[in-house]
Amino acid sequence: MTDVSQSPSAAAAPAITIRGVTQRFGDAGSSQSVLALDNVSLEVARGEFVCLLGPSGCGKSTLLNIVGGLIRPSQGEVTVSGRRVDGAPRPDEIAFVFQESTLFPWYTVIENFRIALKFQRVPKAEWDDRAMAALRAVGMAGFSGHYPNQLSVGMRQRVNMARGICVKTGILLMDEPFAALDEQTRMVLGEDLSILLAETGKTIVFVTHSLAEAVFLSDRIVVMTARPGSIKTIIDVGEPHPRSPDFMLEPRFGELRNELYALLRDEIRKTMASQRDPAAARGGA
C-alpha cells in the first residue's frame, strides 16, 4: 500500500482526474445505442467531497463505475493517484459503497468486515481491530455477531458504510448510499459521515438525488445535464467539515438548495420530454 500523501508532488496532484470521458452503450449508429456520458472532464482534489447530482438516467452512476474501474469508458481516460484506471477495479485505492447494502447475508457483521479486509489483502492481525474501530465509529459495535438480516435497513446501511470506511483506501465512491433509507435516518447518517470524513480525510465522490444531502455533505456539487450526461455547472459549498445540523438552518443552505433546484428543473423537464417522445429527442440531439 503506497501512501501517496507523503510525497509532496503527489499531494498537490488531484486524487481523481477524469478527462474527456464518453460512454456509449450499444453500437454507435444502432437504434438501441444510448449515449450515457458525453465528454465529461473533472478533477477531484485529495480529501475533497464531491457530489454528482442530476436527473435520473443522466449517467451519474455510470461515471462513478468508470472511476471505480467497474466499467471501461468508450472514450477518454480516468487517472487515480496518477495511475490510469482502465476498466479494472483498484481495491488498494478505491472502495465502493453501493445503494443497497452489499453485506453478504451468509456472514455475520464481523465476518463481513474480515472478508472485505481479506479480499483487500490486509494482514490478518489487523482485521478485528479495524473492524471494531469502524463499527464503534457508527455505533454498531454491539452487533458484530449478528447476521445482516437481523438488523434494520438503517443499521445495515450503517454497517455497510463502516465497511467502506474501514478499508485502507484513500478514495470512497458512494452510489446513493442512503437512497433506501427514510429521511430522518438519512440525515443522521449524513451527519455521521461528515464527522467520519473530517477524521479520516478520505476523498469522496457521492452520487445522490437529494438536494439537501448534496448541499449538506459536499465541498463541491457537480450538476449534470439530462442524458447524454455532461457537466452543466459546478457549485462550491465552502463550509468546513465536520458540519453540524445547524448548517441546514442557515440562509445560505436554503439559497444553495434553491439554486440547485432551479438548475435541475430544466434538465428534469428535458428528460421527461424525451421519455414521452424518444424519437423526437434523438432527432433533436
Binding site: P89, T102, F104, F119, G142, G154, T185
Partner: protein, 282 residues
C-alpha cells in the same frame, strides 16, 4: 379436548406451542381410534385391519423375521448408496453447468428434458441392464435423485446477486475467492432444497424398483402380504419404510442447519451499556 381449553381466548393470538402439540396428538389419537373401531367392527379383514393388529404385525413378523430385517437393511443400503451417488454426481454436474455460460446454455435444457421423462416407463429396461440385484434399485434411485440436485445447484449458482459479485470485485476478490465466498454460500440454501427433493425421489425410485423386482427384498414381502389378503403386516412394513424416509430427511435437516450460515442460532439482540446503536440523537 384439553387442547381447546389451553388455546388462548383471542382468536388472532398465536396459539401456544403446547396447545399446538396437544391438538396434533389429539387428531392422531382420534384417527387411530376411528381406524381401530372401523377395522375391528366394520371393515373386511382381507383389506383392512385395526391399528392394534398392525402394531402387533409390526412386532411380529416385520421386526422379528430375520428375512424381513435383512430386506429392510438392504433397502436402507440401496437408498443410502443411490442418494450418495446422486449428491456426488448431481453437485459436480450442477457446479460444472452453473459455473459457465456455454454448458448452461447448451446442456441445461437437455437435463431439464431428461428430468421431465417419466422414468417408470424405463423400469423394465433398467432391470434388463442391471439385473435383479441391488444394482438396478440403486441405479433407479440415483436416476431419480440426481436431477433435483443438478437443477437446484444450477439455479443456486445462477441466482447470485449481481450486486454481491460487483461488491466482491470492487474489493479486489480473486476469481477463486469469489467462488468460495460469494457463489458457494449463495448456492447453499437452494442446494439443500435440491437435497430434500432428491431424498424423496431417491426413496421413490428405490421402492418402485423394489416393488417391480419382487423376487426378493421388500418387494417380495409386500407382494406376499397383498396377495395373501393380509393387510396388517403390509401396513406395518409401509410404516417402517415411512420411518426410514423420515430418518433420512432428519439427517438432511441436521446437515442443513449446520451448513446454512445465517440460519444458525443467532445471538440475541442486546444493547451494550453506553452505546446507542440504532441512532444518534435525532
Amino acid at each position: 379436548m384439553s387442547a381447546a381449553a389451553d388455546a388462548p381466548k383471542s382468536g388472532f393470538a398465536m396459539p401456544r406451542a403446547r396447545a399446538v402439540k396437544l391438538t396434533r396428538w389429539a387428531i392422531i389419537a382420534g384417527a387411530a381410534l376411528f381406524l381401530e373401531i372401523y377395522g375391528r367392527f366394520f371393515a373386511d379383514p382381507a383389506f383392512m385391519q385395526p391399528v392394534s393388529a398392525v402394531l402387533k404385525a409390526l412386532i411380529h413378523p416385520i421386526l422379528s423375521d430375520p428375512r424381513i430385517l435383512q430386506a429392510l437393511g438392504l433397502t436402507i443400503f440401496e437408498i443410502g448408496a443411490a442418494y450418495g451417488l446422486s449428491i456426488v454426481f448431481g453437485s459436480l454436474i450442477g457446479v460444472a453447468i452453473g459455473s459457465a455460460n456455454l454448458p448452461r446454455k447448451s446442456l441445461y435444457p437437455v437435463i431439464l428434458l431428461l428430468y421431465a421423462i417419466p422414468q417408470v416407463s424405463l423400469m423394465p429396461l433398467v432391470v434388463l441392464i442391471f439385473g435383479l440385484g441391488p444394482a438396478a434399485k440403486i441405479f433407479f434411485g440415483f436416476s431419480h435423485g440426481i436431477f433435483p440436485i443438478i437443477v437446484n445447484t444450477v439455479s443456486g449458482m445462477r441466482n447470485s446477486n449481481e450486486l454481491f459479485l460487483r461488491a466482491a470485485g470492487s474489493m479486489g476478490a480473486s476469481r477463486a475467492q469469489i467462488i468460495r465466498h460469494v457463489l458457494f454460500p449463495n448456492m447453499v440454501p437452494s442446494f439443500f432444497v435440491g437435497l430434500r427433493l432428491a431424498m424423496t425421489l431417491t426413496l421413490l425410485g428405490v421402492i418402485l424398483a423394489e416393488l417391480y423386482v419382487s423376487t426378493g427384498g421388500i418387494g417380495y414381502f409386500t407382494r406376499l402380504y397383498a396377495e395373501s389378503y393380509n393387510p396388517a403386516p403390509l401396513f406395518a412394513l409401509t410404516g417402517v419404510l415411512a420411518a426410514i424416509a423420515l430418518a433420512f430427511n432428519g439427517l438432511v435437516r441436521i446437515a442443513e442447519r449446520r451448513l446454512t450460515p445465517g440460519l444458525r442460532a443467532a445471538p440475541a439482540v442486546k444493547t451494550p451499556k453506553g452505546n446507542n446503536p440504532e441512532g444518534t440523537a435525532l
